[in-house]
C-alpha cells in the first residue's frame, strides 16, 4: 500500500475514533466533490443525522513543521479555498493529525488498552479569505 494512502487512512481513523467516543456519527464525504472528508453529527433515528453538525478536511503529517509553538501546514490552494471564508451552512474545519513516522506505531494494542498515535489539532478558516496562490498557514 502507498505510504501516503496508509497515513491518510490512519489520520481519518483517528478523527473517527474521537468522534465515536464523543457519541457522534461520522459520514465519509468526497473531498473532490464536497471539499471535505468527513461529516460529524449527532445521530438521528434510523441512521440519519441531526444538528449540530460540522464538516472536516483531514490532513495527516508525520513530520510537522513547528515554529514558536505553532504547526505550519501547507495546503493546496484548491483545498484551502474549500475551507476559507463564510457562506457555508455547515461549519467547516481543517484538522491536522500528527502521526508516527512508522505505520507500526499508528495503533499499538495491549491487554490494557489500545494507543492511537499521535495527536489531532483543529482550525477554522472562516475569517480567512480565499486565495489565488500557494501559501502556508500558521496553526495553533
Amino acid at each position: 500500500m502507498n505510504k501516503n494512502v496508509h497515513q491518510g487512512l490512519h489520520g481519518e481513523g483517528f478523527i473517527y475514533a474521537l468522534a465515536c467516543a464523543g457519541g457522534f456519527t461520522t459520514s465519509r464525504m468526497n473531498l473532490d466533490l464536497d471539499g471535505v472528508d468527513l461529516q460529524i453529527a449527532h445521530p438521528g433515528p434510523r441512521g440519519t443525522t441531526r444538528s449540530p453538525k460540522i464538516e472536516v478536511q483531514v490532513k495527516s503529517s508525520s513530520a510537522p513543521q513547528v515554529k514558536d509553538g505553532q504547526i505550519h501546514q501547507s495546503l493546496k490552494v484548491g483545498h484551502f479555498n474549500q475551507l476559507a471564508g463564510a457562506g457555508f451552512q455547515v461549519p467547516r474545519f481543517l484538522s491536522v493529525v500528527i502521526v508516527p513516522t512508522t505505520p507500526e506505531e499508528y495503533a499499538v494494542c495491549t491487554d490494557e488498552h489500545m494507543r492511537l498515535s499521535t495527536a489531532a489539532y483543529w482550525l477554522s478558516l472562516t475569517d480567512h479569505e480565499t486565495c489565488q496562490a500557494g501559501r502556508k498557514i500558521p496553526r495553533a
Partner: protein, 382 residues
C-alpha cells in the same frame, strides 16, 4: 424499484429552496426553527423524530451538499429512492398526467418507435381536447382544428416528463401556481386555467371510460357518448385515447397526480384503465360523433380536383387541400350553387387555389362541407 443515491451536484443545486420547502410542507414536515441560512424542519414517524435542514439560499457554498443531506433523510423517512424523491421535488408545483402503456412483446421500459411517437402525439391531443373543453362555454362533440389563444398558451407551458421505469410510461407536467392562502379557502377560490385543464383531462377520460363500459353492455346506446359531451368527451378525445393504444390496440392506464403545492384534499384520482376491448367502442363513438355533429365554421383551402353536374343548377365538387388549423391533406366534397359552381369551374381550369367556409361532417368514408359560404378563388394568398 431501483434504489439510487443522487450525487450529481448540478442536479442537486438546480432545486431552488422554495421547491424544497413546498415539498417538506406537502409531506407533513413542520418548522421547528429558523436560524440564519437554514430552516430546521422536523417530522415524527413511528414515534421517532427526524430532522431535515433546509438551506434557505441557493447561493450557499455547500448548497448541493445540503440538498443531498435533505434527500438522504427523505429517502429514509419515505423508504424510497432518492431519485424518485428528487423527481417529486422538481415537480412539486406540477400536475402530472401519467399514461402507462402495456405494449406486448416488449422488454420493460420499451415501446416500438411508431407506437411511441403515436403515444406522445395522442397524449398531446388529449391535453388539447381537455383544454378546449375548459376554454369554451359549451363543450362540443367535435372540436375545431384551430386552437384558441388560451389553448396555445397552455401548450407552451406543458412539459413532457422524464421517462419512468415500468412498461412504457409517458407523462406530461403542467405547472400550476401554488396555493398561497390557507386551506380554509380551498373550495372558495376559483382554480386557475392550468389546474382546470388538468382536472378536465382526468374527468373527461373517466367519462369516456364509463361511456365505453356502458356501450359494451348495451350496443344500441351510443347516446351515452353524446350525453358525456358536457363532461368533456369529444370525438377528438376518443381518437386521442385510441391513439394511446397504439397500432395493435394494447391496454393502457391514465393517472393524475396533482401538484403537492396545490392539493385538493376532497378528491381521489384512481387510475383509469382501458382494456383492449374498449378501443373499438371508442373508435365507433368517435365516428358517430363526427357523423352526427358537424365541425362548424371550418375553412377549407385547396384545389378543385373534381366537378360533377348533371343538367343546370347546383353541382358537386371535390376540393383537395387542408382544413385551416390542421396539416393533413384531405378531400372535401360539397354541393355548390350555380354561381359558385362557375367559379369552381374557372378555378379547376386555371388550377387556382380556392377557399370556402362551412360545416364539416363525415359521412361514411367521405368528408362533406355542408352550408358552404364565401366560396372564392384566393389568387395565391395561401
Amino acid at each position: 424499484m431501483i434504489r439510487a443515491q443522487v450525487t450529481d451536484r448540478d442536479a442537486l443545486a438546480a432545486r431552488p429552496p422554495s421547491e424544497l420547502a413546498m415539498y417538506l410542507r406537502a409531506h407533513d414536515w413542520t418548522i421547528r426553527e429558523r436560524a440564519g441560512s437554514s430552516v430546521q424542519w422536523v417530522k415524527t414517524v413511528a414515534g421517532e423524530e427526524f430532522e431535515a435542514l433546509q438551506p434557505q439560499e441557493s447561493t450557499l457554498r455547500d448548497y448541493a451538499s445540503r440538498v443531498r443531506d435533505l434527500l438522504s433523510v427523505l429517502a429514509v423517512t419515505e423508504d424510497r429512492s432518492e431519485l424518485d424523491i428528487l423527481s417529486d421535488i422538481s415537480s412539486v408545483s406540477m400536475d402530472i398526467h401519467t399514461v402507462r402503456t402495456f405494449p406486448p412483446d416488449n422488454a420493460p421500459g420499451m415501446i416500438g418507435l411508431e407506437d411511441g411517437v403515436q403515444a406522445f402525439e395522442s397524449l398531446r391531443n388529449l391535453v388539447i381536447a381537455a383544454a378546449y373543453a375548459v376554454s369554451v362555454e359549451q363543450p362540443r362533440a367535435v372540436q375545431p382544428a384551430r386552437k384558441s389563444a388560451d389553448v396555445l398558451k397552455l401548450l407552451r407551458e406543458v412539459r413532457i416528463g422524464p421517462s419512468a421505469e415500468g412498461s412504457f410510461i409517458i407523462s406530461v407536467h403542467t405547472p400550476v401556481p401554488p396555493r398561497l392562502s390557507p386551506s380554509l379557502f380551498e373550495e372558495e377560490l376559483p382554480e386557475p386555467f392550468e389546474r382546470r385543464v388538468a382536472l378536465k383531462v382526468y374527468d373527461a377520460v373517466r367519462a369516456a371510460y364509463n361511456a365505453a363500459n356502458d356501450a359494451l353492455v348495451d350496443p344500441s346506446g351510443f347516446d351515452v357518448f353524446t350525453a358525456a359531451v358536457p363532461a368533456g368527451v369529444s370525438a377528438n378525445l376518443c381518437e386521442a385515447l385510441i391513439g394511446l393504444g397504439g397500432e395493435a390496440g394494447h391496454p393502457f392506464e391514465l393517472a393524475l397526480r396533482l401538484a403537492p403545492s396545490r392539493p385538493i384534499r376532497a378528491r381521489q384520482f384512481p387510475p383509469v384503465r382501458f382494456r383492449r376491448d374498449h378501443l373499438p367502442v371508442l373508435a365507433s363513438a368517435a365516428q358517430e360523433l363526427r357523423e352526427r355533429v358537424p365541425e362548424e365554421g371550418a375553412v377549407v383551402l385547396g384545389n378543385v380536383v373534381r366537378l360533377h353536374r348533371e343538367g343546370a343548377g347546383t353541382g358537386e365538387i371535390t376540393v383537395a387541400g387542408a382544413v385551416e388549423g390542421d396539416d393533413r391533406l384531405r378531400r372535401v366534397w360539397m354541393n355548390l350553387t350555380d354561381e359558385d359552381y362557375s367559379t369552381a369551374m374557372l378555378a379547376h381550369q386555371e388550377m387556382s387555389v380556392v377557399s370556402v367556409r362551412g360545416d364539416l361532417v363525415r359521412r361514411g368514408t367521405r368528408l362533406y362541407l355542408t352550408n358552404p359560404t364565401a366560396f372564392r378563388i384566393t389568387a395565391g394568398e395561401a
